[in-house]
Symmetry: D2
Subunit: 386 residues, 4 copies
């Protein structure tokens, strides 16, 4: 058997971090010829250079294309999707892969799925079948209906995909590769001194990582993007009320990101507590080590649902972004309102760490994914299974 | 209550014909402010001018955009989708509709669905939930997962959509508006003399519409586009073997259409029977009247499944394009092989007309669709209903 | 005679400000039916909302399209041009103007010119024929070769256009409409108190407009975009050395703008003189009044060459961006080096105001432009005049 | 010195044929690392597969992208340009050439020029400076203003480019590489028997190449595309009137090509002389040999102006497409009117062959071009030379 040409389209630093162990496993697999394509915010420096991470990981970029419009609003997201589609067609036409891999639910995943679908290239989708409640969920399920292989994180995700009419033989529960990294972190959890303040270009207070601190990571909700500014402000005020130190991480670039950034800036200008550190982007391992040492995560990132369940870190999940997503005991939901966030945060601080939970996998997802991509039958044609 | 601004995106002559009664009902509805947008093959003259049909129907074009690439192969279809998306964003940004309507399953429906989805405009999808077995089916279901309102043709389509996790309150069985036209045709079925040979620019033999004749309408199957030429040739040879006259209609412009056209041309060059008439495109009413008078339809058009079931016209459905689609008693399937097609055709000619069947509706679909679009709650947000 | 449908494509706040009096004159002209199309940075809030300015001016937007990619580097500028072209085609197809107007030399002007050229719509180009020395100059002359009417600012610009083979009958010296505004400002030059610090959201020091102050407006040079950060820093250090107060204006979004912004931020973080005010964007009139009261303008904006010559404001023109551009006595050139800038600045502060100069017009450009667009013969075809 | 990475963008079969000897010379040059990119009609089979020609010539395709919209009208040409630009950016970003080469004046040359210009890659333009009188001329000169190196066919073209403000040090007269092929043909002019009727898939009469025959090659004029049908019909009627045999070649795909094709089809349906052979596309060498043996070329192809002057073949140049283009004694112009064409044709038939003329070069253009691309200084920056 000759190697399969596997093309993985990575569109953001978050996606890269999430599938990193799968990429490394593919790179090492004798029957896979890996081609990584970078598009969208994976190429924007202000979201953390994926190029740098890949180099450090010994991975090469097969092709790249800028696709993100400035001025993140609903119109630009749709335009960016169209642009990504046009550019991916040309990239795939020139790469000629045997299978294309798309990850999760950002708008670029639809572009990848459509390009593959019409170009008769089998499509594998990682992390389908989950529910979250926003445009992301619509996109995730639409990609499922365009995909030929489904590599999912949880048994319930698999069940949903089958209910949507997909052939059970094409659905595989691999766990989420993000948990693979969490296993590493759990095995050597020490945060290096100064990692945050220096190496990652943070500004604001100087944080003592052996102290008690909270991490804030809150993204705009694309269907509520006009409220992004006020939503992040509510969380920040609640965190300040706790009296603990906090690290505030930069949000992703979905519609509303300008509002989120404005909210953080406004808070920072007013705040004189010297207890807040603002960081653009941490490396995935540093970030997880850092989370592991935190008293609580406040925000709406999926990290709170996935990695934190495995690590046992308490999470205050704010607002509607993760609505309906499967979660372990470590998550308390709160409305995007400072009183509600503060109340949930107080409960979490009182509770302390949670037990380790394997809801999103136990740590071999990367290798499982590589094995399936190397071996599973590749078909284009499919039918709704009644 | 002020009128709703309803934007219907029409991307082909077939789509126009299919939803024509719905458009006329919306135009007449006091609470709907109709805007028709034309894209894709709806603007290509060789597929029959939708502009002319609309004018005859008293409808105006609100905006238009060319989007179809030349050289119909998988690469161009994906590129056309991206281009349609870019242009629809600009059109929708300038039209600002309250709801966007997309029809069926061509690639442009995905562009419409993505533009609406990211621009936070509710999307209504006509004719979802059906199964057919090709890229069209993938696209149809992907559009379902992006849509907010589902106006479907049959109860089983509705059931599938609900199984895919859509809220039953957003799913409406209206019947297919194509049947509305079939009702008209059934009420006045006379084909005007010479309609085919003269008014529609056909070439080939001169057909006597009072004689026995067969209609051939066979499209390329996009996932088998390399076989388009041989597939249509098999059907044409089987029809010639029947000894009856035949009208051969031009195929749509999906990937493979060049092959289909080549096959027809090759057949025609060789054929000396003077029993074949070749037509580019008939008006929807003329075409149905013509079908109504035919002894049999041979090919893989959905007209065979829908309108012909209502009209009771025998159909030989060739190949995989309509696989799994719900059908009435009037359809006999045949492989894309001349012996198989001839055998099925012989059975249909021996059988004669079938009983009228309301599987795809009873003829008020246009009005039902208009009423729902005028009244149904419009929401952007949705969740997978477990 | 029926009105001409004139479509003016505005792609930035700078362009809007520059042609504002021409737009108002067209709006008032009985034989012109004006349609303003906004694209590119004209729609990005952080560059100052053209929508707001237009509303204040009583002008309507006929159509709009987002076209600017994030991550300003050479790749994104080329992509933005392609995107603007795709979207303008659709907009022009739906507007059907008699003549399209494009302004100056930004990359979007090429998109406008190509769309018009291939769509057989006559193109009028404002401000062609000037020389500057960067990609802008290439673009400006390329647009000249695609344009049918040339409305230029100076006799020498007209001469260059004729030398390039354009028909002299299609070349009109109107003066630059930016000077029209300078006339108004000269007639009522008072800067309202606090205009800068409050109304325009500036940050930094509180500036007394009756004091001596310098204005800094320095854009990245697209062919030297890697040096943008250091180039602006050199200017800022030279200005600090002068000991005067200064207002630092945000740069445009060409390739390198991130570098310029970074340079300004770095300077600001280090600076403790409390003599610098940082503003995002001033209204055109406020900005000119403000310039009029300044002791000197430092940077590379074309405002220093145009409006300042009329107003007699001393200018230190830094680096290569305006190389070769026609200038009056008020400009001293300096290399992008703090010693050179400081030396030139010292000479200008010693010299004081210059005499009023009408090199770029005397103030009726807007009306002249409107009259020509209403009356000049409109032809598509043209030939190189030997 | 390390090899230069030269990227040649080929957008049509005509362009390929024209620069073929330059490509072969670059391939053979030790200091050039050649990358050929195919876009636009170069990838459309119905215009003759460039892929096949390149394979026969031992050349590889570095990258490719479909870019041509269906439905050739002004709107689609502008859209195709935008699409080509978007795709070329991605291709160039991934190829990273040292210099990009664009050829002549089709719309895709502008896309290539803009992509290179904004991506800071030096651009070499072949065949600039000529005059022709249609949108092609506008585009050609616009590309000149964006290019850094000009490799032209005639001294007058060089002069025009210098008059447009280009630095004489960047302008090189190489002759047209199409003449290199004409030299070969002149050295071995025998047309192989049956070459036309069989090997090239022609239809219509069977032509005896030793007889007297006329060649017809007439393209639509993009600014008069509505007249394409009638224009070609006038020429065909004039040719029929001559009583000689004729070979009618398929036109290119500019706006109006549908009209041209319709005109030819209509003529063919009516014609019963059995003296006309219709061919889709001949290989470049076959075509030239064939032209060499013809009594006259009728149409508006540039081949009549270039290669035919060298070969001494009489040409009736119809209509405005080549207006103002430099020509030798072998060309007689005629209006697009059957009487005028017939009159000019009669004069040419009476005159017979013309003397060999080296207006467009003497046959080493390919090698000269390769040498210049390997050695000339490459600069991005340029200024209008007063």
């Amino acid at each position: 058997m000759t190697s399969r040409r596997v093309c993985v389209v990575v569109s953001s630093r978050a996606s890269y971090s999430r599938v990193r162990t799968a990429l490394l496993a593919m790179q090492a697999h004798p029957d896979i010829d890996l081609h990584v394509v970078l598009i969208a915010s994976a190429l924007l420096d202000r979201y953390g250079s994926v190029l740098r991470l890949m180099k450090a990981d010994g991975l090469e970029v097969a092709a790249r294309a800028v696709t993100v419009l400035e001025g993140h609003d609903p119109t630009t997201m749709a335009t960016s999707t169209g642009l990504a589609l046009l550019k991916l067609v040309t990239i795939l036409e020139n790469l000629q892969p045997d299978v294309v891999v798309t990850i999760a639910d950002r708008y670029e995943t639809l572009a990848t799925a459509i390009a593959s679908g019409y170009m008769n290239i089998p499509l594998a989708h990682l992390q389908g079948g989950e529910v979250t409640g926003s445009i992301d969920e619509k996109v995730r399920h639409a990609v499922t209906k365009l995909a030929n292989l489904h590599l999912v994180s949880t048994p319930r995700a698999a069940l949903r995909i089958e209910r949507m009419g997909e052939d059970p033989d094409t659905v595989f529960v691999t766990g989420c590769p993000s948990i693979d990294l969490a296993v590493e972190v759990l095995n050597s959890p020490e945060v290096e001194i100064d990692v945050v303040g220096e190496r990652n270009g943070g500004t604001g207070c100087r944080l003592d990582v052996s102290s008690d601190y909270i991490v804030v990571l809150q993204h705009p909700v694309t269907t509520e993007f006009a409220d992004a500014r006020s939503q992040v402000l509510e969380s920040l005020h609640a965190v300040r009320q706790s009296g603990l130190n906090a690290v505030v991480c930069r949000a992703n670039e979905d519609a509303g990101s300008q509002g989120t950034a404005d909210g953080i800036r406004a808070f920072r200008t007013d705040d004189d507590t010297d207890r807040f550190l603002y960081v653009d982007s941490l490396g995935p391992t540093d970030f997880l080590r850092f989370l592991h040492g935190a008293r609580c995560l406040v925000g709406n990132s999926s990290v709170g649902i996935r990695e934190c369940s495995f690590l046992g870190v308490p999470v205050v999940n704010v607002g509607s972004r993760q609505t309906n997503r499967e979660r372990a005991a470590n998550v308390i939901d709160a409305a995007a309102d400072r009183a509600a966030v503060y109340e949930a945060l107080s409960r979490q601080l009182a509770n302390g760490r949670y037990a380790h939970d394997e809801l999103y996998g136990s740590g071999q997802a990367g290798e499982k994914i590589a094995a399936i991509l190397a071996e599973a039958p590749l078909r284009i044609e499919k039918h709704y299974v009644e």
